[in-house]
């Protein structure tokens, strides 16, 4: 892209859009800093004016933004594992839990310790990373499927262990009364009624994480991740140590989740096993898929939007519906009472459909990265003329259907795990 833009620049007469794109390509961190500052300003101002102010007060909005930030962070971390490296981690909430409990032990009346917040962010992340390495080291030598089931099991047992070790974790009650972070200069107090400080800190964390991840993605390590995702055998043949590279991605994902966990524990002031069940991992997975695997800003935007839809829109729909006082429909055997429907109950059903439909029709996500898009649609490009492959079919569905040539090529492309390759 940038080479193209540079050529266009030499010819003179660059459009402002192209100039911006060129700048963004060459000064990525600065672009992130600038755009996140704009986002920060918007998030501080928009809740005070219509239409957002009409929905709820600004304090709940700041609170929702800070919570959304937690999920943005989680989704960006999971994106490193799933999107960049192509490993399916289904127990991501476990690392979130480990970060949360690490903070709970360091800052609660239960343990009687009160350690400062900012260093604990690093410590909690590091503890989660250690667990990530411990889990990843034995599994990452194996095929990706096994990692999926191992992480699923890990995500399942971590809350169970926290639940069962009630002498040390207070079981179902969880650890409550966790101390909030101490006031920071310029940002102010961290309290439940003024969540503004949490939002600002979260914005900082997300900005830094995003800048770091973008730099990593464009580095040697990032290219190695992509190579492994596309074809592990070829990557290994080209001298990439696939085990350590995958382990790095896995540990980095765990680190990010640990960071989010520390922040979340300090904000909620209570941690309990029920906050980390499989539903959380699944929500984050849905966010990554919807946002577009492998595209960092896309995933962040996806997580932000999905969280707000889930926590604000569905709840608002409920109160809106209650305000309408619709009568129940009673048509003989069919009894339909809209008042009995709780919209928030359906979010997981929607996520399930979203995952399936996205995989079938738009595997590159709603905000795809250019490279990922091409990779996932390579079948179409290789399939040849439009009379063989129906053009109106946007997914990889039709593309791989009838033509034997396309099947062969994509079989090659799908990597060592593709059917027919390893039998």
């Amino acid at each position: 892209m940038s080479a193209l833009a540079a050529i266009r620049g030499q010819r003179g007469g660059m459009s402002p859009r192209a100039q911006i794109r060129d700048f963004a390509d060459q000064h990525r961190s600065a672009t992130i800093l600038i755009s996140m500052s704009i986002v920060g300003v918007l998030m501080s101002l928009l809740p005070q004016v219509w239409p957002l102010a009409g929905v709820q007060n600004k304090e709940p909005w700041f609170d929702a933004f800070a919570n959304a930030g937690i999920y943005v962070l989680l989704a960006m971390g999971l994106n490193v594992v799933i999107g960049l490296t192509g490993l399916l981690d289904l127990g991501y909430a476990a690392f979130f839990a480990i970060g949360s409990y690490a903070y709970a032990y360091s800052n609660s009346p239960f343990s009687g310790v009160d350690l400062p917040f900012l260093p604990m962010l690093v410590v909690g992340a590091a503890i989660a990373a250690v667990f990530g390495i411990a889990l990843g080291a034995p599994t990452l030598r194996l095929r990706g499927d096994y990692l999926a089931i191992m992480t699923l099991g890990f995500g399942e047992i971590v809350p169970i262990v926290f639940l069962n070790l009630d002498t040390w974790t207070q079981g179902t009650n969880g650890i409550s009364g966790i101390f909030r972070p101490e006031p920071l200069p310029l940002i102010g107090e961290f309290t439940a009624v003024t969540p503004y400080a949490y939002m600002v800190v979260m914005l900082f964390i997300v900005t830094i994480a995003m800048a770091l991840l973008y730099r990593l993605q464009d580095s040697r390590v990032g290219r190695a991740w992509n190579a492994i995702r596309e074809d592990e055998l070829a990557a290994a043949a080209n001298g990439i140590n696939t085990v350590t590279t995958k382990l790095l991605a896995f540990a980095l994902g765990a680190t990010t989740a640990g960071l989010a966990g520390v922040f979340s524990a300090s904000k909620l002031t209570i941690v309990g096993p029920d906050q980390f069940y499989f539903q959380v991992s699944f929500t984050i997975l849905a966010m990554v898929i919807l946002g577009g695997m492998g595209n960092i800003w896309g995933v962040a935007a996806g997580a932000f939007v999905v969280y707000l839809l889930q926590s604000v829109l569905l709840k608002q729909l409920n109160s809106f519906k209650e305000a309408l006082h619709l009568p129940a429909l009673d048509l003989g055997p069919v009894h339909f009472d809209i008042n009995a429907i709780n919209f928030t109950d359906y979010s997981f059903l929607l996520f399930g459909f979203a995952l399936v439909l996205m995989m079938l029709f738009r595997p590159e996500g709603l905000f795809p990265s250019q490279r990922r898009r091409r990779e996932l649609h390579i079948g179409e490009e290789l399939a040849g003329p439009a009379d063989i492959v129906p053009v109106e079919d946007p997914g990889i569905v039709g593309a791989l259907g009838e033509t034997p040539g396309a099947e062969e090529l994509t079989g090659e492309d799908a990597g060592p795990g593709a059917p027919g390759h390893d039998r």
């Binding site: 399916l88 095929r143 096994y146 089931i149 990889i396 799908a414």
Partner: protein, 375 residues
């Protein structure tokens, strides 16, 4: 390969069958012995009797007190066989699907859950049968009816999922069908949640629970034996189908090499659909058995049981039918051992540890063979 006469082949398979039975009986006896000693040891420990609480003392004492624990151990062993049989039935579906299209079908546990729900619908909803039935022919008819009702529906649901969702993704990058399977699992769970609610649904326990065989002071549940026998019958039927029939041969060929099989005239789509049908039907049978045995069903039942059954499939060697059965029973025994000693809260943890150690030390499983990239 030299041609063997049918008589020799028959006697070979007979000796092989006898050997398998011998090994199984031996393993069950060893489990019985270990559980007996462990139960006695644990009770000595809790009694605080330190002199006899030593491991060696517990392992070498055989007297009347010990015999009471033997009876208890026998009871638990039969229970372990029945729960192991249920896991084995579910594990078969995982292993068959994995063997043929290399997909971890995360939705399979939920298929099992739907089977259990359908048994509730059939027995409780359609026949209004809530209490235990003591008339044996009617009981058998009811259970057969529940199986005939649940198994085809669940199998067809599984085929429908394969047809609509997995088939279009058969040649996609391998992450795509996996993620889809997770999505399907959530869809199934939430549909059932919407219909049946989030609490436990009572499943009619039509099999009288007090039907027991007194044996040396213990009461051995006939239901457990029944479930074990039923599962064994289904497994032998499957083994026979896959090993002997034409379609079974097509399945094995497809599992070995899809493109070669299709060149030999095997209809891939039909064979894969058949695999999903069989796997779903077995999961449906497991669901019916679960309802009879435990008396409750919940929408998220499939998640936990599915994870255990998958562990069983990996433990036995994924893609291997006998391995899945073996793994199912081993997981059943492990879980039963934990709960007999009062650690049922930790059974998930134990199963996960088993999965971890298998993947570290023998990723191909007990009966699977290491084939390059597969493990």
């Amino acid at each position: 390969m030299t041609a063997t006469s049918p008589a020799v082949a028959a006697s070979n398979s007979l000796t092989r069958g006898l050997r398998v039975i011998g090994l199984a009986v031996g393993a069950i006896l060893i489990y019985l012995l270990v559980l007996w000693r462990a139960l006695e040891f644990a009770s000595e420990l809790t009694a605080g009797n330190t002199m006899q609480g030593s491991l060696i003392a517990a392992l070498t004492r055989f007297d009347d007190v010990g015999n009471a624990y033997l009876a208890q151990a026998l009871q638990q062993t039969v229970n372990a066989l029945s729960i192991g049989a249920i896991y084995a039935l579910i594990a078969l579906g995982y292993t068959m699907v994995y063997g043929i299209i290399e997909l971890i079908n995360f939705a399979h546990g939920d298929i099992f859950m739907i089977g259990a729900m359908l048994a509730v619908v059939f027995l409780g909803g359609l026949l209004h049968q809530q209490e235990a039935v003591n008339n044996i022919p009617i009981l058998i008819a009811l259970i057969l009816g529940a199986l005939v009702f649940a198994m085809p529906i669940v199998g067809l649901i599984n085929v429908f999922i394969e047809r609509t969702v997995y088939r279009p993704l058969r040649n996609a990058p391998r992450l795509a069908p996996l993620i889809t399977a997770v999505g399907v699992s959530f869809i199934l769970q939430n549909i059932v949640l919407t219909i049946a609610g989030s609490g436990d649904r009572a499943s009619p326990q039509i099999f009288p629970l007090d039907a027991q065989i007194p044996f040396g002071g213990a009461e051995i549940s006939i239901l457990s034996i029944f479930i074990f026998a039923l599962s064994l019958g289904l497994m032998l039927g499957l083994q026979n189908f896959v090993g002997r029939s034409r379609m079974g041969r097509a399945m094995r060929a497809t599992a070995q090499d899809q493109s070669a099989a299709s060149l030999m005239g095997v209809d891939l789509n039909q064979t894969i659909a058949l695999t999903f049908l069989l796997g779903g039907m077995l999961a449906g049978a497991a669901g019916v058995a679960w309802g009879l045995r435990f008396g409750f069903v919940r929408f998220d039942l499939g998640f936990n049981s599915g994870l255990k059954a998958f562990t069983a499939a990996v433990l036995g060697g994924i893609g291997n039918i006998s391995g899945a059965v073996l793994g199912g029973f081993i997981i059943g025994f492990i879980e039963n051992f934990a709960s007999s000693l009062g650690f049922s809260r930790w059974s998930e943890f134990l199963v996960f540890m088993v999965l971890t150690f298998v993947l570290i030390f023998k990723p191909s499983g007990i009966l699977g063979q290491l084939t390059g990239d597969r493990a």
